[in-house]
Symmetry: C2
Subunit: 633 residues, 2 copies
């Protein structure tokens, strides 16, 4: 039987396959953080006609069910079936999810004043062909020619050698050898190609976030980013934050599952990118992994148990340079896979790459670096020292734990304005058109607007007397940001978008954790706000963070807006820089080694700071003079 | 249904399992060079009662069939079945097959004046446990303690790190790390154990012959050989010599089969030895592979095609130090697996280890080294230089191509005396009792005796007029060495043992190839016989080679018997020495690098030398003065 999609696409399906599986097999990917288990409620489709069995409706509301909405992963066709896929269900690959704001990455690389010297290097060699007189073995012949060009002490993996005989002869002893540098004096051979067959050479920058995974496919010969792929980290089906993942990995015995899940996510992207650009996977010879400590451990299948046990020790901070096969990536099996070093259990490689991307380690002036992702990490320092700490902020600003939360992608509400007279909101949507959710910057806008107009109080509690847009929802009071309009059914399927009481509580807890972390780190460094020359903000808020609004919310310090620089996803750009330059790879390691980790739970005073920050903007308004002035307090 | 064996043993079997398979599954191994394909005719059993289906009788004679003999690999039970297993069908594991003559290997190692410094080393470490103040990662903590004891620049494989977290804590941060030396300044970690769980440490010396495989299980802490396992190389099912194996690997696409076959043979032995001695496979941390160039290539799955193509170039002479996982051995997956370097396509690592075992590289006097295995390789030299060559002798002296040929194991006729008056032979059998075949030394004895008494002429042709023991056999004339006596059926099943015309031709071709090789190598070195101080003879002839007889045959030069030293299997003892001492490993590499290979087919004159040596002892009797004197010529 057939599964047909409004707007295009018709695929063979059967009663044993879910709609989700049939779509995936045909290259149509739906948002599904739970990986098709029916628990996240994200892979919604609308059945317009035909027969289907529905195993479970999961989190869908009565209204949604009435409207014909079903979860693709719980639904199978029993006859030819016609469905619509709402925009908010479509997984955007290669879209704007957690992408760096640097569009011309090669130019940014150049701005560091370093040459192109990627993780995987190549050298062309013409070996003298063997004869009865010169009858040394193939490997020795290759080694001799490498030594002639100054490359000594190279290691040859078994797999490399296993194709050497044929390759040397196919290339008539004229070959290209790719290799990586283990150290300044030790090299690892990656691959050998007949000279004329050796065209592309590629590398991957991979950001493994707790919530999302981003992959840059890079032409490492020139640093051009050929394409970008991104997806949700399917590990979220085992929990939203790193702690529940660690618990699942250890107490639940699910380390292998977690590893397979995220490696599967990455490989799906790699396969898509290779297929789209006709790249042979064996030509992908290098990868840089940037993730927090737990994500990096799980990626490598390393038991993360000790990360959450006092004294919070990871197995590895500085990772050996391992290979594609051990990483289980669908790339060259001897590819060099470098993992960004981490500083501590809760300040990982993603922060070290982030600091590399910010350049704060090159400036004598003191800067603050904040990465607001699934958690928030902060660092203060300059070209001589860096102090860092982690705040348990949770994934709100990436969409996690927020009913209509989503990443800053197509369809996300990224800013909101509430009319002072009518108290009705008007929204701005990424990519225009009908909104499908709300991203971090939209949430910040919304709270601040709601607060400014008295629709919520300082603690984020709704005042239903103020406007009928505050209504009773399924989880208590909620504010209607966008009213769905399904009158024009042939265009797109939409839904009401609200912010709930629970959303409000989560957002205020998150902003309080961030502000408390910054305050405490400043105190530990013995500094006050006024010494900060720059504040770099990283994270997936959209194209930009509205600094004034974030200050008004009390999430970030009250500093002049021109000191703030929004950098987007610094983990991926730092991974890219590391992939492209051995000099920057050394810089990365030097950043990691000079970062001093402050354990906020140990130094004392964190809980006080946190509780004080649970107001909008803060219990101590004197910390926010510009807000006080603006609100006339 | 049951399969019961006279003398003990009764196993469940079924109609789909061959007797061979049922026996193997129950730990009873039969001789089967063809690996159970019905072609070698060696896995003979006698069916005494019960029902069976026989797929093929293969090479069995009419008489054997009449006597109830069947091939175990071609026979399945149809009801309860009773069989006898003749001695000659029983595979001797851990027996005398190709074992070194050095019984006290540890003492022999000591005679080199080197300390015990095995391929896999161990170091005990007590790490300071982590704290909030000293919170570096586990791997960094380990590295720091290693550096404290002077071990810097150690590489950690992914698999090593993947158990580090648990092991450190299990051992309360008191651990033992095993490692190997990649070079004087670079180390590879193998395993980490909690201190108190770290008992045995083992290594393997492995001799991969074209015909046999020998494994020494060694306690590398003290050099004691714990046990020995040996078996036929099951690759013989694909051909008896290296050339047919190469053809099968390349033109036949059978490289993977060949590799799996020999690795399977080795793993069978390893499993048996580990089981017998309660050794955990992960505690086997090192192995040294010694084999000819083709065997070593196939062991590692390297395409041997170029070995047999002008200009005869192997892929590898000097092998990287790879690991247990890549070797696919049932040992520690990070175990250091060292492969003895080869000199050329037809002078392999087994000869280099052989020279190490002979000590000829330590003596200023000039020696000749001969290894007579499936082929024969020769070397001349001293502590400054060594020249070497390969002779295409074939596998006769190991039993190959000889109708009743066998290795020098239990039941083999190792010497023969023919009564000058009655012309009847009397035989001496290894282990005593009824003979089951004839080994190399027995063959040499036989030819010489037959020749001395005029039963064969100078060309090895039988004279049937001389004695009725020369009789018409299935393949022409043959000489009856031992007449079977099955009157006492309850004791053992026996058979006639003969030497055939074809056997004679093969033996004379083999001895001619060896002598021609020695002659030509001496000529190329510009030396005459009288400069030789010692002649080391290696090979599986049994406990000793009868030098006078071998000289009389014209196989080896006519030198005083006291210059000859028979060493047995030098490949395995050389592998053992290499396993136990890094100093000797360096010696081995220095031997390989100073060996000059002479390609006999290129230097000219080989065919003449060979044709002249196709007589007993030689067409030019002046080369054999002692033989001329003894025979009164």
């Amino acid at each position: 039987m057939k599964l047909s999609i409004t707007g295009g696409g018709s695929f063979e399906t059967n009663a044993n396959a879910t709609i989700y599986e049939t779509l995936k097999a045909n290259g149509v990917f739906l948002v599904s953080p739970c990986g098709g288990k029916g628990t996240c409620g994200k892979c919604q489709v609308k059945v317009t006609s035909g027969g289907a069995t529905v195993k479970s409706y999961g989190k869908l509301t009565q209204q949604e069910r009435k409207d014909g909405i079903a979860l693709a992963c719980q639904t199978s066709a029993t006859s030819d079936l016609y469905i619509e896929i709402p925009e908010h269900s479509k997984l955007v690959l290669g879209g704007k999810i957690a992408v760096s704001i640097f569009k011309d990455t090669a130019a940014y690389l150049q701005s560091y004043g370093v040459g192109i010297d990627p993780l995987a290097k190549r050298v062309s060699l013409t070996l003298p062909p063997p004869s009865i007189q010169d009858n040394i073995g193939d490997l020795q012949r290759l080694t001799r020619s490498l030594e002639d060009v100054g490359i000594t002490n190279m290691r040859f993996a078994h797999k490399f050698v296993s194709t050497l005989m044929e390759t040397l002869r196919e290339g008539d002893f004229s070959v290209v050898v790719s290799y990586s540098k283990q150290s300044d004096t030790a090299f690892d051979a990656i691959s050998v190609y007949p000279h004329e067959q050796c065209n592309g050479r590629y590398g991957l920058a991979i950001d493994i976030g707790t919530t999302t995974v981003v992959v840059y496919m890079v032409d490492i010969a020139n640093g051009a980013v050929i394409d970008i792929g991104s997806t949700y980290n399917s590990q979220t089906k085992y929990g939203d934050d790193v702690i529940t993942r660690i618990v699942h990995a250890t107490e639940g015995g699910g380390l292998a599952d977690l590893r397979n899940t995220v490696v599967g996510d990455i490989n799906t992207i790699i396969d898509l990118l290779c297929g789209k650009h006709n790249i042979e996977s064996r030509h992908v010879e290098a990868a840089v992994i940037s993730g927090n400590t737990t994500m990096s451990h799980i990626f490598w299948g390393l038991n993360p148990a000790s990360i959450r046990e006092d004294p919070y020790i990871p197995t590895v901070n500085y990772y050996p340079l391992w290979h594609g096969s051990q990483a289980r990536l669908n790339i060259n099996q001897q590819a060099a896979v470098y993992t960004a070093p981490s500083v501590a259990s809760y300040v990982g490689g993603d922060i070290v790459t982030g600091i590399l991307a910010s350049k704060m380690h090159r400036s004598p002036g003191i800067s603050l670096f904040m990465d607001i992702g699934t958690n928030a990490e902060v660092a203060i320092g300059n070209d001589e020292w860096i102090m860092t700490a982690a705040c348990s902020a949770g994934p709100c600003f990436e969409g996690g734990g927020i009913k209509f939360g989503m990443r800053a992608t197509q369809g996300a509400i990224e800013s909101i304005k509430i009319d002072p007279n009518t108290l009705t909101p008007s929204v701005s949507v990424i990519g225009g058109g009908v909104p499908t959710g709300i991203c971090g910057s939209g949430m910040i806008d919304a709270i601040v607007e709601l607060y400014k107009h008295g629709i919520i109080n300082q603690k984020g509690v709704f005042n239903p007397a103020k406007t009928p847009l505050v209504r009773e929802g399924e989880d208590g009071l909620e504010f209607l940001i966008y009213k769905s309009d399904n009158s024009q059914r042939d265009i797109v399927l939409t839904r009401d978008i609200v912010l709930t009481t629970v959303d409000m509580e989560n957002l205020i807890r998150a902003k309080a954790a961030i502000f408390a972390g910054v305050s405490l780190l400043l105190r530990e460094a013995g500094l006050t706000l006024d010494v900060l020359e720059k504040v770099y903000v990283a994270g997936g808020f959209g194209n930009s963070l509205n600094v004034e609004k974030a200050v008004m919310l009390g999430m970030i310090p009250d500093l002049p807006p021109d000191k703030y620089i929004f950098l987007g996803n610094t983990s991926i750009i730092g991974a890219y820089l590391t992939l492209m330059s051995d000099t920057l790879r050394k810089d990365l390691e030097s950043i990691a080694s000079k970062m001093t980790y402050i354990e906020l739970s140990v130094v004392g005073g964190y809980m006080d700071e946190y509780m004080s920050a649970m107001f909008i903007p803060h219990t101590d308004i004197s910390k926010f003079p510009s807000v006080a002035a603006a609100l006339g307090l």
